[in-house]
Structures are given as structure tokens and as C-alpha cells.
Symmetry: C2
Subunit: 715 residues, 2 copies
């Protein structure tokens, strides 16, 4: 039917349901919606008497199911009120009389409305298609295999609704039991297009009607010739929250530019008194070397740390890009009002004492002030932020000055401190570290929008507990991922973790399965833990992007080769099948008992020249796309020698324009630690005492390269 | 039937199959075995004519299946030769005629032997029961859920055969889809005892008859009233390898004691010449401070590094406990023969050039010499070994002198070097580091037998690529685990890894699923990677054993609390439901907006006294069994203050006899690294920049405590 008729029909139906004070649709109402959206359901008809039943069965054709319809009989099967697979007038007639008689015997007083005559669905694979309203992502469509096994094993996949036909089709391949749908043990596969089309239509339905909270087609019977929903369940949603003020991409970029590259910063609550946050922030701004204007604001002091102080931000001369608030929570509103009037675009709210301590009204008040004036808020309840390329340290923590390509953000202050310590000890090059705290306004999507454009930033790593607007985040991620990797540590993955998230931020942690699927679809690299996020952030910008899937392990320690191979498989990478000519070439350099193939095992007693020759081979051969090195500390090739030759050869090839990712696991005495530092600084990602981390990082780089469309194969 | 009759009957059958040159048993032969072992199979009978078919159906009772039997018809269903669910003389008669007619129509020349009349099995849950011969573990029984989903998802569990009734029953709970067997969606659960009994009988069968290589009952139809094998498949094994010489536990302990606590060590191939292995070994023995006798053996030199040298080990005066071989592979046999004649119980074979380079005959030769003389071989192809409490460094690597409770072994020299470097940088207390290399003789089970008894060793960590005798290892592990944790890093887990294992040691890497289940059953803690093994080894002896399941997180950083909660769930631990009185007690110390419950979030701005008061509460309350601390670096509580107070309080409680495991994650600037070292040395397992590792280590301790029977609940 035409789209407008369809919409009108469904809207009228939903309004009548709402008017009746119901949230769940009845089965006939569900059928109306199914028909409007072209969702196949079994043909059926209510027969008031036996002749109507015979006629209905004849019209439907083929075997049918008869079911008693009575408001007094809840358990039809128990009452003998269901007969399956009758065909032809005589059988239908007999069955009709039998179930009516059974119903009477079961409950003599039961009112019998009639008998439902329903098409008997063919045997097929049971699948589930549904849609839910996720607190972070809104309408989300779900697909999984039906039946108890998958209900037990929870094998289900999600996408943002609406989905395209291709996206819907991809869902059939995203479940663990995907092979089943292709047909196994001689059974035919399901009609993939029909199932995908059903998914697409359900996703369209919930996208068209936000007032629909949940749809459940369970089971859908999928055969090699179609897919029919045996049952459809539709539930209306709660009324949505009022929308917050939104900003365009251009507005976001404009205010974020002034936040991250300010010319003038005011510190509201700047203090002379050591130990006060307003003192630490001032000192860090000054010590950090920020070249712009720094204006202390304090009603009492005329001069703070050598800078003229102003009683109010209104008194500060000229434009101010950022106002850093280092005053108690109760003093924020008034000062924010003044900042808004002055046209300050960014307020960095360090103080705690808002939603995280139950002061929701106070937080709502400052959000309202900010929205009125168009001031963007960072925080509250944060450590502040670093913009290293501006020598800007607007925090009460210690400065950080290793400029580099990674932007790191955290929802939690503790995690922010871990970022700082890790970055310092590993000398990670950083473009920004930003605390998000309560996220009263600025959110991961705003930051990502900026970092996506920021030329200093080549990798973004974000710790988060929830997303206030999952769709905006997905949009920002999709815009960023083709340019640079986005790593996310999503805390509150597990039930226990989600509960702690609830008590920490008052945020409703989403179902992790939804986050996992949708972040992957957005091309985000999900870090399994804090340490992984930090290592990915440190290593990803160091590694060149691979140009293909062929990974080669070159190892001096056979034992490392085995563990590195395990890690390659664990990380979804492919050990290259070495072509005979390359195998022959490797063999020329390694002892006869060394193993060519892959891993290339050069054996432990070899001099630096063997490492060098084989690494050169791997870099020179265009069929090889990434190298994983396993070094074994020996007297013949000490760690420093290995580090020197590897760094030199890799640099030589990069100068020639051959840039392949090279990662290394160093097994040896403590000198390997210095060798790893040496290598890391020279673009080879190297770790001591672990065969897992170098390959995990390479795996993360590959996941990004795939998501960015640089390697074929989607996210 | 009586066991001896049963055995005779099966043995006769298997011999006749072998005599016929077959390895696969026919269906009727399978039935004979099933009947002998009381494995229920569908009742069936071959009917030569229609009257026999009617009689057979009447005897069997209930609905039956008829199947054409013809040597010329392979695809019975295609030929219309199968009818399912006929009952009563008339139906059986009609069906008989129909399928014979169909067969004739299908192939006019087909010879028809008759019609098989078979009991129709009831609808039920399909499961699979089987047994295979694993290269490492021998006869292994398998259980899983049948059907395509589980075939696709590979949800299966293994045990060493034979199993007890209880072990068999435990297998039903060990599959991921275990819930299905208990009954879901209103379906009845299966008869668990009947399924378990079937498993037990299959395991008994393969244990009784090692010549049976594989048994497959697929599918078994399990209902709420029994379990019947719809099909049984039996395949004979290859002839077994000839057995190697075995040693009793007492013999193993006697020779291992002399290896690990020797009074006299000879170095065969000792050398004056720096750079030679025979020189490094001599120097390490001397520099390491070994107090026993050290005898260089070298045909030329009269004096090596100040010790009198002997031309042959035969010339060394007195008893020698260990002969360390530092001569080329080709010279080993002759010297080993002399060592054997002298009665030296242990030969440590450093040289490579044996099986790992394809020299299998050379390795077989030295094994034969060793077996003849009862000399135990360590290696060949190893870095040697350390026995730190004896100040014994019999390696060509550098000495290691931090005496402590962990014994570490590795199959690979590279991994051995990683162990050494890691131990040195973390100052891990070590009782021994042993290289196993080719494992021509001494194996993990010998070492484990010794370390289980060694009072210096409180934890054993082993890197291995294969087990030559998985059953001996399981026996040694079962004897050791009740006393001390055994950590295993099994390399070659994945297909790619297993292939590399094959090329490295010539060992056939077993199916990882078998290793995984059987190591878990043996109570072994499996480390997922090299770094995990090293961290578990370092941390497990530091942690006291928990007395119960209640884990409490106390955190200054809410963000760490969420991540620590995730880690608690990931590691199978339980966040305690805090009782109201304890909750009240915690609340007294934390700000009103801090979250009690679990995690206990004391919030970030608190002084050391709040950490101290809450940690004291957790240690003092007997309902709390383990603490996970999340520290957030602030000016108010700097890292050193947190470390000092935590170590002091923990020590105070331990002095009072209250020893609970306490682990900590420190989020902060680089000073947290020193704080972690301080804590670790004082019995608190602490890590910087990771919320995962402290909880992973606690999880490993819990897994051990459960396996050791110290916590209720088996492995």
C-alpha cells in the first residue's frame, strides 16, 4: 500500500490503543501492522461455525491448524482446543466438532467465540526478529536463531534502526551460529533475502513510529523459500524525554576549536593559596607554558601568581575562550550566568557536587543557564583537560608535556589519572587528555567530532561508562574512523559492572550486547580492559597501516613462535601461506633444521645477520603485509643488537616508502626492556615478557584498517 | 551379564573384526557391544517376509520404523525404502509391501534381504556420547548436545576414561548449553542419571578395550524417562606404541631430589674458553655460590677455573648426582654411557641437535642408553636449570638469586629467558627454573611430582606445548593441587599455534578442547598467555588463601570500581551482597554521596584515614573473604600514603591471624609504580594502570582454592 496510507493506518491504530489505555497490542492489531509493513504472517480466519471453518480452510488451502477461541480458556492445548494439520472438508469438520466438544468438557461454562483457522506453516528454521528501544541508541533491531539453544546461548545481533537491505543481510552472518542458516547436514539454507527483508521492514516500522517501544517476531519460520512470522508482538513505548538543545557540526567544531586552541583562558576561583584547586589550575596553566592570556577571577585578590585578577569574569577585558571553574558547586550557577552574558563559549566545570552526589536539580540549573547562552559545558566533576600542543594544562593534576598523536578521554577522574601516569612512564605522545565526568553537556560525540578534524590527533582513545546519545556518537565515529582509529573502553560491561556504573554516574548502563554490536558496526576498536586501551593508544599511531592480510612471524625462539601463532589466531589475523619461492628464500638464511613455513623459525643460536636477512626478506616482499618478530636473548645476538638492526632495517625500508607494521615480542633477561623502549621510539611496537600484547596491538590496527575500508571487508 | 562373559564376548568380536582386516564395526556388531555394556539401543529385528515383520512389530510393541535391507540399495530413503511410525498388523503389512514394491521400482535387479523392523524412538533431546583416543591423554570420553547448532558451536566436554557415575553426571553440567538439559520453555528436563550412566558405560568400554579407538553414540535420544542410542559406531585403534621405561613415584622423587639438591655436579665439556657453553656453565656454578662439589670433565685440561678437571666422568672421585652435558650432540652418547656405568642418576643435556633438528635416531640412542642404566635425562636442547635454594645455577644464562616459593619450567628456551628476565625485573621469589626442551625423558609429571613435595616450592608454573603422558601429568597434578597451585601455559592452543608446535618439537599437539577440560578437571589453573602465567606465578604465593566467596571492592575512584566490577564478573568471582549492618558501618566512614553497597565508593577526595577505616572494616568482618582496592591518586592521599597504610593494616591483621587476599589497582601518576612495588613486597598484590590484572590474579587464586577443595565446589 502507499506509504502515506500505511502510515495513516498504523498511526490510527496506535492512537486507538493509546486511547484505550493499553500499551500491548492484541494479536489482530499486530496483524494489521504486519500487513501494513508487508511482514508475512500465517493466513488465518475466525470461523463462527463449522461451515465457515470449512470455507476458510478451503480458501487458505493446504493443511491448517484449528484453535478454540474463548475468553475463558487461557490454555488452549490443555483444553484439547488445538488440532494441527487437518486438510479437506471432512477432516476440518471432524476437528471443529472435536475441539468444541473438548472445550465444553474442559469448562462447561466457557463462552466459545469460534474457532481460528490458521495456515499450517512449513517446517523450517526458527529465527527471531525484533526491535527494542535502547536507552543509549534508541531504536535497535535484533536478529537471532530461535529455539531453546540460542535462547540459552544468547546468540543475537543488533543494528541501529532503520537498516538497509545490505545491513539486514549482514546480520545473518553476525550470529555465532551463522553456519546453520547456510544449511548444514544436508539441510537447505534459509532464504536469506526474505529474512533480511523482514528485518528491514521491522526496522523501518520502529523508525517510522518512535512510539513503538518493542516488536517481537518470535518465531519466524524461515525456509529456503521465504520467511513467515508465526507470531507478532508490539508494545508501545513510554513517552520520550524532552529533547536537549543540540548543536550543528559547525557549531560543535567552532566551540571545540576555542576549547582546545584557546587564546584566552579565565580561571574562576583562582587562588593564591597552595593546596586549593584554584591555585593548582593557575600554577599548571603558568608552568605548562600556555602562551595565551590567563586571567584569574577572584572577588578578593588583585593579583594571583603574578597575573592581574578580576572580581568577575564580566570584568575580564576582551574575549575569553574558556572559563575554568574552580569554585564550589553552589557558586557555579551565578558565575556561569556571567560567563554566558559575556559570550564565553566554553565552561570547564571542575567542581563535584552535582548529579553524581544526587544534586540533580543543581546540575539541571547549570545546564539550563548554559543552553540559554549557548555556553558548552565540560564536566562537571572532572580533573580538567590538557591540550598539549597548546602547552595548555587546565587541570589540578601535574602537567604533561610529551606532545604526540593520541587524544585520550575519560568519564572518570581515576581513569584520567591512570592515563596520565601510563603516558608519562611510557612517554606516550599525547595531543589531549580530557575529563568528561558527569557529561552535563559536552559528550564523547562532541570530542570525537573535534578530534576527527584535529590534525595533531592521529588516534582517539575513550573510556566511557555510558553514552548519553549513542546515535550522535555513532555518527561521529563513522565520520572519524576512515581517517583515524577510535579506541573505546566501555566500562560496566557485565551485570556487576553495570550496577556499579548505575551507582557511580546515575547513568543507565545499556545492555553490553547492544553496545558491542553497534560500536563494532561504527568501526570502533573496543579495548577489553584499561591496560589494553592504554597500550592500543600508545601503539596504534606508531604502526603503519597494513596493506593486506598476510602476517609473517619470524622468530628466534620456537616457543615464542607457537605462542605468537596462538595470538595471531586469537586476534583474528591470518598467518600467510608462504609461497614456495619465498619459502626457498627464507631457507637460504636459516639452519637446515630451522623451520621455514610460518612461523619462520630461524632457531636460537643465530647471529644478528640472520635476523636482519630474514626481516629484510619480509619487508622487501610485497606479498608480506605485516611482521611479528619473536626475539630470543642469546650471547650471539644480545638485545641491543637485535633492537639496533631491527630499527635500522625498518627505517631504511620506510625511507624507501615501504612501511609495514612490525611488532616484536622480546624474550630475555632485563636488557630486553631497554631494547623494547629503543624499538618503540623507532616505530617498532615491542614488548618484553609477553607474546600476547604485540599481536593484540597489531590485531587492533588491522581491525581499524578493515573498519576504515583500507583492507577490503567491512567492520 | 557377568563381567568375564561380557569381556570374552567383546574380545572375540573385536578379534574377528581385526582378523577380517576391518577397523570399522558393522551396525549389528555395534549392537553386540552395546548389549554387552548395557547401552540401550532401539529394539529391532530383521524380517525376511511380511509375517515375520508383523510378528516383530507385535513383539517390539508401539509404533515401529520399517527399512528396506538390500546390499544394492545404499540410499534407502531415496528408494522409498523407509516408513516411519506404523502400528498394528494391517499398517505393518501395508507398509512392508509398499517399501518392497518401491525398492523394486527403484532398482528392478536389487537383491532384497528383508525388512528391518525397528522400535520408533520417542521425541526427545538429541545428545552425543562418544570416546576418542587422545595422543596425550589416551582414552577420553566426550559428551555434548546433538543437532546442528551444537555441531556448529562445538559445545562438548571431555573426561579421562573411565569416569565414575559422579564424573559422568558432572559432564551434563559442563557444556555451555547445560540449561537445555534441565528443561527450558516448559519442556521436561532429560533423565540425567540415564544419560550419565550411558557415558559411564562407554568410558568403561574403551577403558576395558584399549584396542577400541573411537566410539560414537550419535544421536542419543534423551527423554525424561531414559536415554537410547539411536546409532552406535565403533572403530578400532592403531596398534599402540611400545611403552617407555617407567619409574615409580619413589624412584622419581629419589632421582629428582639428587637433581634439585645435589652434593656433587660434574660438567662434561667444561671449558676454559670464554664464550663456550662449557665455560658459562662452569662460571655460573662457581659464581652462583653452589656449596657442593663441582667437577669439570674435559679430556685435555688439568684445571678449569680453579677446579681440577678429569678426562672422563669415570675418573671423578666419589658419587656424582648430576652430570651437566655441554658437549656437541654427537659426543653425548659415549659420555652418557660412562655416566651410566658410574651410576650418575641425572644427566642434564644442554646440547641441541637431536629430535628438534630431525635427529630422531640420535635421540633414541641416548634414551636407550639412559633407560639401560636408569639415568634420568633432562633435555636435550635446554638452557639448563636453576635450583635457587641450593645456589645452583647449572645454565649458560646469567645467575638468578632471589630465593622464593615459585618453581617455573618451560619447554622452550626462549620462554625460559622470558621467565628469567621477568623474575629479575619484578624480583619474583623463585625456588627453581627448569628447561625441559625435547623431553626425551624427564617430563612435566616428574617435575611436578618433585615440586609437589619440595617444601621450598609453594607454586608451580609450567609452560608446555604438549604432554607426552597426559595421564601421568594429571596424576601428578591431582597429588599436588591440594597442597599448592599449579599454573599451566599450554601453547599451541589454536590451529595456527598447534601447527607451529608440530614444526617446533615434532610433538603432536592435542586438541585444545581436550586439554582444556582435562587440565581443569585436574585442578590446574590455565594461564591464557605468557604474561598471565608470569604474573600468576609471581602473585599467587603472595596472596593468602580465601576462606569464602565474598569479594568486596573498596575504591576511591568510582570509574575504577566499575572496571573492577567487570573484572570480578569476568573472573567468575562474586561481589558480596553487603548485609545491612556492614553497609551501615561502611557508610559511617564515607561521604553521604559516596556509594555504599559493593563497590564501596569512598569517593576521590578522601584522606588516608577513610581508606584505612574502610579497609579495616573489610578485614575485620568475618563475612568478607577478599578485598579488591581501587586507589585514586590525589593530593590528599598520595600513593606512598595509600601504600603505607594498606601494608600496615594488612600486616596488623595477619599478625592477629586474619589473612585475607587483598589486591589493588592503582590509578595515578608514575609514583603509583613505586607504591605497587612496596605493596607487593608486603603481601598486597598491586598493579598500576590496570584494573584487570589484580582481579585476574585473585581469580586464579580462587580457582586454585576451589580445585584444592578449600572452598566447597569442585574444579
Amino acid at each position: 500500500m502507499p506509504a502515506e496510507d500505511r502510515a495513516a493506518r498504523v498511526r490510527a491504530l496506535l492512537e486507538s490503543v493509546r486511547a484505550a489505555g493499553r500499551t500491548a497490542l492484541t494479536a489482530p492489531e499486530g496483524r494489521v501492522i504486519a500487513e501494513a509493513y508487508g511482514i508475512a504472517v500465517p493466513d488465518e480466519e475466525l470461523a463462527a461455525d463449522v461451515d465457515q471453518a470449512v470455507a476458510a480452510a478451503a480458501r487458505i488451502g493446504g493443511p491448517v491448524v484449528l484453535k478454540i477461541v474463548s475468553p475463558d480458556i487461557l490454555h488452549k492445548t490443555e483444553a484439547g482446543g488445538v488440532v494441527v494439520g487437518v486438510e479437506g472438508a471432512a477432516e476440518v469438520r471432524a476437528a471443529f466438532h472435536r475441539i468444541v466438544a473438548n472445550a465444553r468438557a474442559y469448562d462447561a461454562g466457557a463462552r466459545v467465540t469460534g474457532v481460528q483457522v490458521q495456515e499450517l506453516l512449513p517446517a523450517g528454521r526458527e529465527v527471531i526478529v525484533g526491535a527494542v528501544t535502547d536507552p543509549a541508541f534508541g531504536k535497535v533491531v535484533a536478529f537471532g536463531l530461535g529455539g531453546v539453544l540460542v535462547e540459552v546461548l544468547r546468540d543475537v545481533t543488533f543494528r541501529l534502526a532503520p537498516v538497509s537491505a545490505d545491513e539486514a543481510l549482514s546480520m545473518l552472518g553476525s550470529v555465532r551460529s551463522a553456519e546453520v542458516l547456510r544449511g548444514v547436514r544436508g539441510q537447505a539454507g534459509v532464504d536469506r533475502r526474505a529474512v533480511a527483508e523482514l528485518i528491514r521492514r521491522v526496522s523501518e516500522l520502529v523508525a517510522d513510529f518512535p512510539e513503538i517501544g518493542e516488536v517481537d517476531l518470535n518465531p519466524v519460520i524461515a525456509t529456503d523459500r521465504g520467511a513467515v512470522a508465526a507470531d507478532i508482538r508490539v508494545i508501545l513505548a513510554e513517552r520520550p524525554q524532552p529533547a536537549r538543545r543540540t548543536y550543528t557540526r559547525e557549531e560543535i567544531l567552532a566551540s571545540m576549536r576555542r576549547l582546545m586552541q584557546p587564546r584566552a583562558v579565565a580561571v574562576i576561583g583562582a587562588s593564591q593559596e597552595p593546596g586549593k584547586i584554584g591555585n593548582s589550575v593557575m600554577r599548571n596553566l603558568l608552568d605548562g607554558g600556555f602562551a595565551g592570556e590567563i586571567h584569574p577571577v577572584n572577588p578578593r585578590a588583585g593579583d594571583i601568581l603574578g597575573r592581574k585578577a578580576y572580581p568577575s569574569i564580566a570584568d575580564v577585558p576582551g574575549e575569553v575562550d574558556v572559563a575554568v571553574f574552580a569554585v564550589p558547586a553552589r557558586s557555579v550557577a551565578a558565575a556561569l550566568e556571567e560567563a554566558g552574558r559575556k559570550g564565553v563559549p566554553n565552561a570547564v566545570l571542575i567542581p563535584s557536587g552535582f548529579a553524581e552526589t544526587g544534586e540533580h536539580a543543581l546540575q539541571a540549573e547549570i545546564v539550563a543557564i548554559a543552553e540559554r547562552h549557548g555556553v558548552r559545558l565540560l564536566g562537571p566533576n572532572i580533573y580538567g583537560y590538557y591540550s598539549t600542543w597548546q602547552d595548555l594544562c587546565a587541570t589540578f593534576c601535574t602537567p604533561y608535556d610529551v606532545k604526540g598523536p593520541v587524544a585520550l578521554t575519560s568519564q572518570s577522574g581515576g581513569i584520567g589519572m591512570a592515563i596520565l601516569g601510563f603516558a608519562r612512564t611510557t612517554r606516550t605522545g599525547v595531543s589531549a587528555i580530557v575529563g568528561l565526568g558527569n557529561k552535563a553537556d559536552l559528550d564523547e560525540d562532541d570530542l570525537l567530532t573535534w578530534f576527527g578534524e584535529d590534525p595533531h590527533t592521529q588516534c582517539v582513545a575513550m573510556h566511557l561508562e555510558d553514552l548519553k546519545d549513542g546515535r550522535a556518537f555513532v555518527a561521529a565515529a563513522r565520520a572519524t574512523v576512515p581517517k583515524k582509529p577510535v579506541v573505546v573502553l566501555k566500562a560496566g560491561r557485565t551485570a556487576a559492572g553495570a550496577r556499579a556504573a548505575g551507582s557511580h554516574t546515575g547513568a543507565l548502563a545499556g545492555d553490553d550486547a547492544v553496545y558491542d554490536d553497534i560500536l563494532r558496526q561504527a568501526g570502533v576498536i573496543r579495548a577489553p580492559g584499561l591496560n589494553d586501551m592504554l597500550e592500543y593508544a600508545r601503539a596504534l599511531p606508531v604502526l603503519p597501516t597494513p596493506r593486506g592480510d598476510n602476517v609473517v612471524i619470524i622468530t628466534g625462539a620456537g616457543g615464542s613462535g607457537v605462542l605468537l601463532s596462538d595470538a595471531v589466531t586469537d586476534n583474528g589475523l591470518s598467518l600467510m601461506e608462504i609461497p614456495p619461492d619465498l619459502d626457498e628464500a627464507f631457507r637460504r638464511f636459516i639452519p637446515p633444521f630451522g623451520a621455514a613455513g610460518n612461523p619462520v623459525d630461524i632457531t636460537g643460536g643465530e647471529p644478528p645477520s640472520t635476523y636482519e636477512a630474514t626481516i629484510r626478506l619480509g619487508l622487501a616482499d610485497p606479498r608480506v603485509h605485516a611482521l611479528v618478530l619473536g626475539y630470543w636473548h642469546t650471547v650471539v645476538t644480545p638485545p641491543a643488537a637485535f633492537a639496533e638492526l631491527t630499527a635500522r632495517v625498518v627505517a631504511e625500508f620506510r625511507e624507501r616508502g615501504v612501511a609495514k607494521p612490525v611488532v616484536a615480542s622480546l624474550a630475555g633477561d632485563v636488557e630486553v626492556e631497554e631494547a623494547c623502549r629503543y624499538l618503540f621510539e623507532r616505530g617498532v611496537v615491542a614488548y618484553p615478557y609477553t607474546t600476547e600484547m604485540p599481536v593484540a596491538v597489531l590485531g587492533a590496527k588491522y581491525r581499524w584498517a578493515r573498519a576504515a575500508g583500507l583492507l577490503g571487508g567491512g567492520p
